[in-house]
Amino acid sequence: MADLESWTCPLPLRDYPTIVLGHGGGGRLSAELVEHVFLPAFGNPALDALGDASVLPPAAGRLAFTTDSYVVRPLFFPGGSIGELAVNGSVNDLAMRGAVPRYLSAGFILEEGLPLDALGRVVTRMAAAARAAGVQIVTGDTKVVERGHGDQCYINTAGIGFIPDGVEIGPDRARPGDLVLVSGTIGDHGMAIMSVREGLAFESPIVSDCQPLHGLVAAMLDAAPPGAIRALRDPTRGGLAAALHEIGGRSRVGVMVEEPRIPVTGPVQAACEMLGLDPLHVANEGKLVAIVDPACADRVLAAMRSHPAGRDARLIGAMTADHPGLLMARTGIGATRVIAPSLGEQLPRIC
């Protein structure tokens, strides 16, 4: 495995220890960046040809296509970096439609002054994440913006995957009676970022859950007959609440979750309590929520638990015809409440 922490600047690049505008100018500096940073990390036949577009072989099944931009600050955080996030984020978006992820593009927007070493480490981590997820980065682009016009490094990735025949997963397919499974503890990524960004020191550091989920999805699909897995979402921004709101709304069914069953680690719970945040609204980068036919929920849950990315999977609730479009929770003391979608960023409370 590549050493993710050490990156040695290749000799030809040593004149410029930081990114300068010329690195995005399309001239010699740009070419050196491609030749000595991107190609050695990402190299594959489609990319190595360095054409204006990559040419890819046809494959069986329907095409799934997605894109996402990554602007996380800081670039490196406990459990990952913007590099892993940029790969796993798009891989997971594909996986949530049941697609097998194959190819990614990578567009970098770099701020003048970014240490070349930081870019090198991001790219190394990105390449490792792509290898781990079995996807190839087949096309890319780099632009440099003046200092103060960006925040170090932004990455956009687009992803292509193929959906095997018979796989039909979508947010509008949930029905009353379907069960709600979550693949593990929630809120880890958001609180990991929050704790480093705000300089909060907790007794046990909170680590991002950033990981690819297509392997877990494949194991779930293997365990269930076609159509039994109705909907999948990776609860990123907006957290579990936003994911369930979207599925309930698109499928026009209600959702009832049992609040005490929702897995949250002690440190995340404590950090949320301290800051007045609700883990239900906090971002995840390596979890999924699945809406599953009740007839095979046990088998799917067992398959999830025997996969490393779903070890802590749990049944947390059910879809219902009672209150279409509404997300409700049964609380620990046996009462019920609404879970409203959050407006935007959650704000830490005063006391």
Binding site: Q269, P324, G332, A340, G344, I350, C351
Partner: protein, 371 residues
């Protein structure tokens, strides 16, 4: 973490609730003073376990909600100044002033920073000696000690670029104002546990005696709240009006004496306007003579700003327990967290926000659909 699970235990909560149901023989109205208690009650659905005779009304203990509009406008004016770093608790940044909020000022180029402690603001002042760092010092007695400590340190270090926009408010005068109101319905109080952890509860027996109301110092977890309610109901049913401490793991009668000494050094009592309620005599703290140089209002000359409250917002009635959030005609219609008429809709301790987030909207299948 044990505290969190232990004091949220379902079977124990239901057994306490059953005890309350058995003790109640006629209608009673209790007020939980603190907005944090309101949120816990609504979020956990504690009111759903109580007998119909027992009504909980929500008190004024939301510091963000009672901060006058005028002061928020002053904050916005200071935050928009070039050279200023304006520090606030996160709660405050979305509270509407008369034209905008701190978020808007930030997006327009103001340097507004969310901090977790006034000591963070102090650190910024040391770090940027050529900038003016202002902390928005609001809150009840709970947040006051940290603010007092920040000012104490700033004075000791001779930090000239640090100041505070102070609008501290106090619980006991607010309780007396509620009790002396002609529309008073409240028959007993669940006193705010965190305020009492600082101030103790030695101030309460005269109030309980004078107005014949039980006052029970109460915490914030489901079992804490149910225990507070149980004790208040027992007193009411027995015709007693005493002060009890149902939160002994955090509160003593005398409170935190060193904190109180620091507060007395930095702050002195003053008449204070409460948003939506009006001026309550001796209900706030301002800086003492020795700390006046740290007064942001004087330093930035915003004392002349005058503002009128919008007539549509009935938050004042909500804060005094005479109106429930969903009884307001604007609730969930023109007033939502996205387009708030008042602070009670956006503060994490605001009663209107609690109803909006945790309960189905009246007449709508979709519940809170903002965002």
């Amino acid at each position: 973490m044990k505290y969190l699970t232990e004091f949220r235990d379902g079977p124990a909560a239901r057994s306490l609730a059953a005890d309350i149901r058995r003790s109640v023989t006629r209608p009673w109205v209790l007020m939980e003073v603190c907005g944090g208690q309101t949120h816990s009650i609504i979020r956990n659905g504690i009111d759903q376990l109580l007998p119909p005779e027992l009504e909980l009304v929500h008190g004024p203990g939301c510091p963000v909600c009672v901060t006058p509009l005028e002061l928020i406008d002053k904050a916005l004016a200071i935050a928009a100044r070039p050279g200023v770093i304006f520090c606030s608790f996160g709660d405050m940044v979305r509270v509407p002033g008369s034209e905008k909020d701190l978020f808007r000022v930030k997006s327009e180029g103001g340097d507004v920073r969310i901090v977790y402690s006034p000591l963070d603001a102090l650190r910024l002042a040391r770090q940027f000696p050529d900038r003016e760092v202002v902390f928005f010092g609001i809150g009840f007695e709970t947040t006051a000690p940290a603010n007092a400590m920040a000012l104490h340190l700033a004075r000791r270090e001779g930090l000239r670029n640090f100041s505070m926009l102070v609008s501290h408010v106090l619980v006991p005068p607010a309780l007396e104002a509620i009790l002396s109101s002609p529309t008073r319905r409240v028959q007993g109080f669940l006193a705010a546990g965190h305020v009492c952890s600082v101030m103790g509860y030695w101030q309460y027996p005269p109030i309980a005696r004078q107005w014949s109301v039980p006052i029970v110092v109460t915490g914030f977890e489901p079992l804490d709240l149910l225990e507070g309610i149980r004790r208040a109901v027992r007193q009411l049913e027995a015709g007693r009006a005493e002060v009890e401490n149902a939160y002994p793991r955090a509160v003593t009668e005398e409170g935190n004496r060193p904190a109180q000494a620091l507060l007395a050094e930095v702050f002195e009592a003053t008449d204070r306007a409460w948003r939506g309620i009006g001026v309550i005599p001796k209900s706030g703290w301002r800086l003492t003579e020795a700390y006046r140089p740290f007064d942001a209002e004087a330093r930035f000359d915003v004392g002349a700003i005058r503002t009128v409250e919008p007539a549509r917002c009935r938050a004042g009635e909500v804060l005094q327990g005479t109106l429930k959030p969903h009884q307001c005609e604007a609730f969930g219609k023109e007033c939502t967290p996205r387009t708030p008429l008042g602070a009670t809709m956006v503060s994490s301790e605001g009663a209107c926000a609690a109803y909006y987030h945790y309960r189905p909207l009246p007449g709508a299948a979709g519940g809170g659909t903002d965002g």
